[in-house]
Amino acid sequence: MVAFIIRRILIVIPTLLGVTIIVFLMLRITPGDPAELLLGERATPAALDAMREYLGLKEPLYVQYGMFIKRAVQLDLGETIWTREKVSKEIGQRFPATIELAVVAMFISCFFGILLGIISATKQYSWFDYVAMVTSLFGVSMPVFWLGLMLMLLFSLNLGWFPMSGRIGVETDLPIITNFFVLDAILARDGAALGDALMHLALPAMALSTIPLAIVSRMTRSSMLEVLRQDYIKTAKAKGLSQTKIVLKHALRNGLIPVVTVIGLQFGILMGGAILTETVFAWPGVGKWLFDGVVKRDYMVIQGGTLLVATTFVIVNLIVDVLYAVINPRISVK
């Protein structure tokens, strides 16, 4: 197992290098000039030249790439073109927000997704099955953008149950230590701030969870249906075991394998930052930051951000692979 993990980590390195080369080259090839965008209509050739010099954009490509990699291995991702802040610091301020949102959204989608999937599978073609599947289809079809606005209108403006946007209320004074507001509130032993942070998480997490929920529930349903048809399930039934015991003790462990894969992929996607959700809910995460970087051609943000997303994805998938072996010891991790 340990050997397997080490081998997988070693493969990560060329994967990530490949990502950086592709991103680096694509950025330099695509039209759009960060200096031009920084200066806008008032750019004069002299100002542009000074800006490009300052940004190091006049060096040959291989020099720029070499410098980037040399610093990246020391965990120095350079400074953003727009704010001149260290990219690693910008990420450190925003990634916790994305993680918090992703974790809560995944929790909602896993819990309800697996539950709905199991019930639908055991009660195939019942009204519950149809309702559950149609609802999840609805969730996956509605644009998150629109769904977010609808949630805000209903639960925030009209009912006043949840706050509309942002991570925490303006009146709440929370000392920021880890940038995980929920954690910081617990550390500060501030119950009111904890409640406020969780309330702010509610709507964006709900909106964000709809797509993974639909996918997880459908995956669980079809996987469970597959497993429930197996001979050993028939044997268990014949032996007189209760439905619950059959499903939860015997079927689920096998049924979950493909579901875990899907959950891993979805989680990786969410950790990359849900741009639309972050924009609509004014959630200061890496998704919007990376998107803004693309629009402004902030090469350092794009390079650092994509490296972050790629690394996260790779790590999540590694964990998923390890989980396979945990869930079903018969699957070896060779």
């Binding site: 759009g32 802040e85 301020q93 509309m164 924009t279 051609r297």
Partner: protein
């Protein structure tokens, strides 16, 4: 009779006293300002975006400032100034008893430091010990684009409260430039403590001082207890600037009462705000111009004035303002907005007249458009302050041109590429949409920068006209504002006659607010001044 007089007198007194009470600012409260994006940095010399300047407007002050709702200058950190007869020496007398937020005193050395650090060639003289100003680690955008290095020769602190600027050339807009954000005075002590961190920890003399900054979320300011102009503010305890990128959500937060002022709502939400009894809509004509330019490096645009004039009369600008600006704008007669001094109201403007346009087109040698190949109309893909939807405006214009027989097609690029290519005046560019937001309220900032092709190859409209060029030079070198106003009025008449560009519209800025926000006025320059704003409880 006397009884009547007493009654009237009593009523008048009551009225006056009542009115005075109604206008007395109430202290306290926290204002939450909802804006579309976060600041980039808070060192005024190095920022270029409105969201950064918004904070600078309240944390820092400059030697002079623009009056409320106009671009006329008045004293701020300088109480008075003298300009030498040859226009090359400016002497400023500074305000005494002003403190920075860190408690250090404001004086001539702070002025020398704040502006001197931006100079390429630092010819500075401090009055006291002074500082060894570190080398700049980035170019100061506005100092460079306003060509201050070609203007300012030296800055000298004659004594603790007197600063002298010696100029290399006569530059009438120089004083107006000193009212811009880049000329804000910063605390040298705070800067020298940690130059790299200053951009995220601003220290100025303004009514509000910086508290903290949560990236992409909010910036918090609190009232500065030792502010020098206490009679005028600050009245609120705290101001929080929240970044809410989605326009519709920002407006919803305003309706829910969670924010007090909403920057840049969707145009469709303005009528909703106007109808809402809890809201009011501060309005201000923007100090900007959206125009349609010609590629003067190529024929027929370079020489055929009748053709340019034909197009000017063919475009239905009112329809564009009504439907695409959705009423948040006004048709432009000239290339500066009516709120600026020097505006020439006598210029008739190009009336929308299809028949006249057709006649002029024939006179230009292209009856019914025959002989003119399909032309390109460059349109920008992003919303700009002077043009909410470049592509839609482009489509509208193409429709107008088709009515007189000219066939045209839209060309667009991503914004950075658009700006880069337009400046190169490429062969495949015939007409282009562009615009400008004024920097310093000076007509030179529009007329010379945008249209004097003889001044530089980098000017975006490469119109080469000796008469216009001379007017621009005269405008820069004449100090007397009344005389300068006459020069720019002549320039506007000349532009009307020669049609180097077609002015389309000035946008109108409308930022709805809750009724509890009092004394909030939008400024033509776009600055957000909260000094004298107060909250009704």
């Amino acid at each position: 009779m006397i009884k009547k007089m007493i009654v009237v007198l009593a009523l008048v007194t009551l009225g006056v006293v009542g009115a005075a009470f109604a206008q007395t600012p109430k202290k306290g409260g926290t204002l939450v300002f909802g804006r579309g994006g976060d600041s980039v940095g808070l060192d005024p010399a190095y920022e270029t975006d409105g969201n950064s300047f918004m904070i600078c407007d309240n944390v820092y002050e400059a030697l002079v400032e623009y009056k409320d709702e106009s671009t006329e200058l008045e004293p701020l950190l300088a109480t008075s100034w003298q300009i030498s007869p040859d226009g090359l020496t400016y002497t400023f007398n500074l305000r005494k008893g002003v403190k920075f937020h860190d408690g250090t005193p404001f004086n001539a050395d702070a002025v020398v430091f704040s502006l001197g650090r931006q100079m390429k060639d630092r010819k500075l003289k401090f009055f006291g010990k002074g500082w060894e100003i570190p080398k700049q680690d980035r170019p100061p955008e506005y100092w460079v684009s306003m060509e201050m290095d070609n203007t300012v020769d030296s800055i000298e602190a004659k004594d603790e409260y007197t600063v002298v600027f010696k100029l290399k050339r006569v530059e009438a807009p120089f004083l107006a430039n000193l009212g811009m954000d880049f000329a804000d005075i910063i605390s040298p002590t705070a800067f020298m403590k940690d130059p790299a961190a200053f951009v995220r920890n601003p220290v100025g003399t303004g009514p509000y001082k910086f508290v903290n900054w949560v990236k992409d979320d909010r910036i918090t300011l609190e009232a500065f207890k030792d502010y020098w102009d206490k009679d005028k503010g600050p009245y609120m305890d705290k101001v929080i600037f929240r970044a809410i990128p989605e326009n519709a959500v920002r407006f919803l937060e305003l309706k829910a009462g969670k924010i007090h002022i909403c920057q840049f709502p969707n145009a469709a939400d303005i009528p909703l705000a106007q109808k809402d009894p809890k809201l009011w809509v501060p309005t201000q004509p923007g100090m900007n111009i959206g125009y349609l330019g010609f590629n003067h490096k190529k024929e027929p645009w370079k020489s055929n004035r009748n053709l340019r004039r034909a197009i000017a009369h063919a475009i239905n600008r009112k329809a564009i303002v009504d439907n695409i600006y959705q009423g948040m704008g006004q048709v432009a007669k000239n290339c500066i907005p009516p709120t600026m001094w020097g505006y020439n109201n006598d210029v008739p403007g190009y009336e929308y007249n299809v028949e006249l346009a057709k006649k002029l087109l024939a006179e230009a040698g292209y009856p019914e458009g025959k002989g003119l190949p399909e032309i390109t109309l460059w349109s920008m893909p992003v919303a700009r302050p002077y043009n909410p939807e470049g592509l839609k405006v482009g489509v509208a214009m193409i429709g107008d041109l088709a009515k007189i027989g000219i066939s045209a097609r839209i060309v667009s690029y991503d914004w950075g590429t658009y700006l880069k290519r337009q400046r190169q005046q490429p062969e495949d560019m015939d007409l282009f949409q562009l615009g400008w937001t004024g920097d310093n309220g000076d007509p030179d900032n529009f007329f010379a920068v945008l249209f004097d092709g003889l001044a530089s190859e980098a000017v975006r409209t490469q119109w080469h006209h000796e008469g216009y060029h001379k007017l621009m030079l005269d405008g820069k070198q004449t100090i007397d504002q009344a005389k300068r106003a006459e020069i720019y009025k002549k320039a506007q008449q000349l532009m009307f006659d020669e049609v180097p560009v077609i002015p389309i519209a000035h946008s109108t800025v409308m930022w709805p607010a809750v009724k509890a926000v009092k004394n909030f006025k939008l400024h033509p320059t776009g600055s957000v001044r909260l000094k004298s704003v107060w909250l009704e409880k």
